[in-house]
Every structure is written in structure tokens, then in C-alpha cells.
């Protein structure tokens, strides 16, 4: 196996590791750092794929991902968290060993489900589809399990990371127009959700979303 293919596998494994770390992280500030780290790994792995398959278009995609997910979105999130003064908030639910076992089950499911699919893709990194699928499922699990709005949004952003990763591993990324569109969506989404957070907190004095269920007038 050439060295860059090994590097892709290594980065994919780290991607999965960070997805698990996000699942079990209680503190919001650390969660944002982990999101930035995941973006960094994603950008690097796209860059390595670009180098390995000699596709200049992918360098652009890697650069876009790095700027957006390592610098812009984490900066926005940090600013938001600081303004809401929740950076040292802890999630209260979470019994971690159970969540880990749930996550492991999802990983096994994703690996099994992706094996026949990834055989069809002719890319050098088609093995990593299972990891991409697993991290999409783990991010969904995180959105289900978290109580506060901001961590759910971070779960959503991580899910988008997983999708880009899957696209890279199956077809060497999406067409440039779609990728730019997604990038714009992410930025706009974070802005709009940021406004929502303030409204939610003004109404309910908390960012925990189960208060929304009880509100019925």
C-alpha cells in the first residue's frame, strides 16, 4: 500500500476517534475544539486524496474545508457561546459507558452496511466509506442524546463533516458548485441558529430544548 493511502486510512481512523470523543464530551468549549479538530482532519484527508490522485480541484475543496471548519465556524460558535455565557456549561444527562456501547453498535452496523457499497466505488480510499457512514450515525446519535441547543447544532455540523467525508471517499468529492453551496449553507445556518439561541433563552431562560415541549400557549 502506498504511503499516502496509509495516511488516508490513518486520518479516517482519527476522524472516527474524534466523532467518538464528541459523543462523550460534556463541556461545550471542548466540544467546539473537537469540532475544529474534526474539520482539520477532514481538510487534511481531502488534501492527501488530492495529492494521491492528482486532482487540483480537490485542493480547493480541502482549502475551503480548512478555512470554514477550522477557523470560521469554530470562531462563530466560540463567540456565540461567550455571548450566551455558557462556555463552561456541562451536559447533565449522559451515562457515558452506555452511550459508548450504543456508538459501538452503530459503528459495527455502519461497517457492515458499507462493505458491499464501498466495493462498487473505484476510488483509492473506498475503504473509508464505512468510517464516514459511522461518523454520520454517531453525529445523529449525538443530536438525539444532547439536551442543549448548541450541542445539537454542533452535532448537526459534525454530521455535515461526515457527509463530505463520505463524498470524498466514494466519488472524490462533490461538484464544486454543490460544495460551495454547502459551505454557504453552513455559515448561514450557524448565523440563523445563533439568533435562535438568543430567542430560546430569552423565552425559557435555558438552552435545554425539552422546555420547548412544555410550552403550549
Amino acid at each position: 500500500m502506498p504511503l499516502f493511502a496509509q495516511a488516508i486510512n490513518m486520518l479516517a481512523a482519527l476522524f472516527l476517534l474524534v466523532a467518538f470523543a464528541m459523543l462523550s464530551q460534556r463541556r461545550l468549549a471542548n466540544l467546539i475544539n473537537l469540532y475544529a479538530l474534526q474539520g482539520l482532519i477532514l481538510g487534511l484527508s481531502i488534501g492527501v486524496v488530492a495529492y494521491g490522485t492528482d486532482q487540483p480541484k480537490l485542493y480547493f475543496s480541502a482549502g475551503l474545508n480548512l478555512i470554514l471548519k477550522v477557523i470560521a465556524v469554530p470562531w462563530l460558535l466560540r463567540r456565540l457561546v461567550r455571548k450566551l455565557q455558557v462556555q463552561w456549561d456541562r451536559e447533565t444527562i449522559l451515562y457515558i459507558p452506555t452511550i459508548m456501547l450504543l456508538g459501538l453498535g452503530l459503528v459495527i452496523f455502519a461497517f457492515n452496511a458499507s462493505l458491499p457499497l464501498s466495493e462498487l466505488a473505484g476510488t483509492i480510499n473506498h475503504n473509508t466509506l464505512g468510517i464516514a457512514l459511522a461518523s454520520v450515525l454517531l453525529s445523529s446519535l449525538m443530536m438525539i442524546l444532547r439536551a442543549t441547543a448548541i450541542s445539537q447544532v454542533i452535532g448537526f455540523l459534525a454530521l455535515e463533516n461526515g457527509l463530505i467525508f463520505a463524498a470524498t471517499s466514494v466519488t472524490y468529492g462533490m461538484p464544486m458548485v454543490i460544495e460551495l453551496g454547502i459551505a454557504l449553507d453552513v455559515i448561514v445556518g450557524v448565523f440563523i441558529l445563533g439568533v435562535f439561541f438568543f430567542h430560546i433563552r430569552e423565552q425559557f431562560d435555558s438552552l435545554e430544548l425539552n422546555y420547548l415541549d412544555r410550552h403550549e400557549d
Binding site: 490513518m10 467518538f20 459501538l104
Partner: protein, 315 residues
């Protein structure tokens, strides 16, 4: 068995048993430096051992034979484990005695004797320590076994020498699964050797002790043997970690000329690992006892994840 390699085996045995307290001293020294203290020096563990060996042991009236022989079993088990882990040469005639799984068995065996001896006298702290030790042990063992399965799958053998030989035979190969295994192994190492964040080896508060509570009733030469055994255990664990995750530079069986260089490389690795361990211990805070299942559950999860990644990526 190759008779010409028996001197090599004896060298390793003597070095491991003799130099284990030095590693403990080095870690203590590093921790002192990180905490801006001057430290007691590298030779402090030897001074402690000499002092303890010169004192006459005090025994409880109720102590049975088990209490008396447990320190010898502990020391013997750890010395055996230290002798069969490939450290600076893969030509170890005694290594076929135990593969990786039997090695975990030796650790479990000594742990059971330590726990039984702690409960033998019937003091409250001893039984409490024994129960805690078994809690940590039963959580750490499955994680350790699965950590060992990943390299065993890669090299198609559970024998540590074969694993090391097959890992060093190929030119540089990145194994993503081994990265997971390495993180999990570090967590197990911290738990099994009673280091921060699982247990504080320097504490004098009996209620927070895990490992320390086991030998509260011991004194004199028995305590010296137990302390020496735990130093050997730490060195053995670090050597297992080095053999699995950074085995490069080890002398292959029959290559006598490489031996001094391999020894030097191994010493450098251990010094680095000791400093890293001290740094880790300085940065982390001790966890509550009830967080330990979470910590070791994470180690187990990482180890299983390593196995799964190995099956998915084939590396």
C-alpha cells in the same frame, strides 16, 4: 531453545529487576521537576528499599501463611513477566513460556494474591483496597486483552516476540488500528499501575487509596518486595507498550552486534516514556472512584474500535 541465547535472557532478567526502581525514581524526579520541586533524586527508591530490607517486619497475630507468601508470589510473578517481554532482543529462550494472553493471566494471578493477602488480616482498609483493586482489575483486563488482540491479528500470532518481529520486519507501515490500541493501552497502563488519574501512588489518605490500601498491613522486607514488584510491573507495562507500538531498533534473534545499540535505544525509549508518564500525571487530576468504570469503559471502547478499524481497513 537456543542455548547460546540464555546469557541474553539472564541479562534482561537482571536488568529488569535491577533497574526497575531506577525507572520509579526517574518518574518521581520528573514529577518533582514538573511541579517546580527539586525532587529526591534518581536513587531514592533504592534507599527506600534498603531501609525496608533492614527493618524487621511486624506481623498481625491473625496473619496466615498466605499473608507471608503473597509478597514472594507478587515479586516472582512480576519478575517472570519482566523476563519474557521482548525489550532489546527478540531472542529470548524463555519467551515461549507465555504468550500475550498468558501474560495477562500472570498479572491477574498476582493481583488475586495481592487482594487475598490484603483481606487476610481482616482490617477494614485492607478489604476495601482489595475490593477496589479487583474492580479496577476486572474493568482493565478485557480492555488489555483486546488491545493485545489487534497486533496479534496483524501478525497472526499471540506470542509477543513474533508480534515484535513481524512489526519490525516490514518497512514503515501506518496501522490506524494500532493508534486506537495505543491510546487504550495507555489508559490501561495508568489504571493497572495505580497512577493518576485512577489512583494516587503518593497519597497518605487511606480512604482514597486503591493500590496503597493493599499493602497497609505490610512492613519491613515484605513491603520492600511489594514495592519492588510494583516497580517491575510498571517497567514491564512500559516495555509491552514499546514492544507493541514503537518496536523499531530492537535486536533480532542471533544478531549479537546489534545488542548494545538496541539496549541504548530501549533505554532512551523508557526514559522518554517515563517523562511522558510523569507529564501525564502532572496534567491530570485524580478521578472519583465511580468515574473509573467510565475511564476504563472508554479504554475498552477504543480497543474494540481498533479491532473494528482493523477489519474495515485491513490495516
Amino acid at each position: 531453545m537456543n542455548a547460546r541465547e540464555i546469557p541474553l535472557q539472564l541479562t534482561q532478567f537482571v536488568l529488569v529487576v535491577g533497574a526497575a526502581p531506577l525507572l520509579a525514581g526517574w518518574i518521581g524526579q520528573c514529577r518533582a521537576w514538573f511541579a517546580n520541586r527539586s525532587g529526591a533524586g534518581l536513587l531514592q527508591p533504592y534507599r527506600v528499599l534498603r531501609k525496608l530490607f533492614h527493618k524487621s517486619p511486624v506481623m498481625a497475630h491473625e496473619a496466615s501463611l498466605l499473608f507471608r507468601i503473597a509478597p514472594y508470589i507478587l515479586f516472582g510473578g512480576m519478575a517472570l513477566a519482566g523476563a519474557i517481554v521482548p525489550m532489546f532482543s527478540t531472542g529470548l529462550p524463555f519467551a515461549p513460556v507465555a504468550d500475550a494472553i498468558a501474560l495477562v493471566g500472570i498479572f491477574a494471578f498476582t493481583r488475586i494474591f495481592a487482594a487475598l493477602a490484603a483481606m487476610d488480616v481482616g482490617t477494614a482498609f485492607g478489604s476495601m483496597g482489595a475490593r477496589r483493586e479487583m474492580l479496577v482489575g476486572f474493568l482493565a483486563e478485557p480492555a488489555l486483552l483486546i488491545v493485545l488482540f489487534t497486533p496479534a491479528l496483524i501478525s497472526h500470532s499471540t506470542s509477543l516476540t513474533v508480534i515484535v518481529m513481524s512489526l519490525t520486519a516490514a518497512r514503515l507501515v501506518l496501522y490506524p488500528s494500532m493508534a486506537f490500541a495505543a491510546v487504550a493501552f495507555t489508559m490501561v497502563l495508568l489504571a493497572e499501575n495505580g497512577r493518576i488519574p485512577v489512583d494516587n501512588p503518593d497519597t497518605h489518605l487511606e480512604l482514597t487509596m486503591i493500590h496503597g490500601a493493599l499493602d497497609l498491613e505490610y512492613s519491613g522486607r515484605y513491603l520492600a518486595l511489594i514495592e519492588w514488584a510494583s516497580a517491575i510491573k510498571l517497567l514491564t507495562y512500559i516495555a509491552i507498550g514499546i514492544a507493541l507500538f514503537v518496536p523499531w531498533g530492537i535486536a533480532r534473534s542471533g544478531h549479537w552486534a546489534h545488542f548494545p545499540l538496541a539496549l541504548a535505544i530501549f533505554v532512551v525509549k523508557v526514559i522518554a516514556a517515563g517523562a511522558g508518564l510523569a507529564l501525564l500525571e502532572t496534567l491530570l487530576a485524580k478521578m472519583r472512584l465511580f468515574r473509573i468504570p467510565e475511564f476504563l469503559g472508554t479504554a475498552f471502547m477504543l480497543a474494540v474500535l481498533g479491532l473494528l478499524v482493523h477489519f474495515l481497513l485491513g490495516a
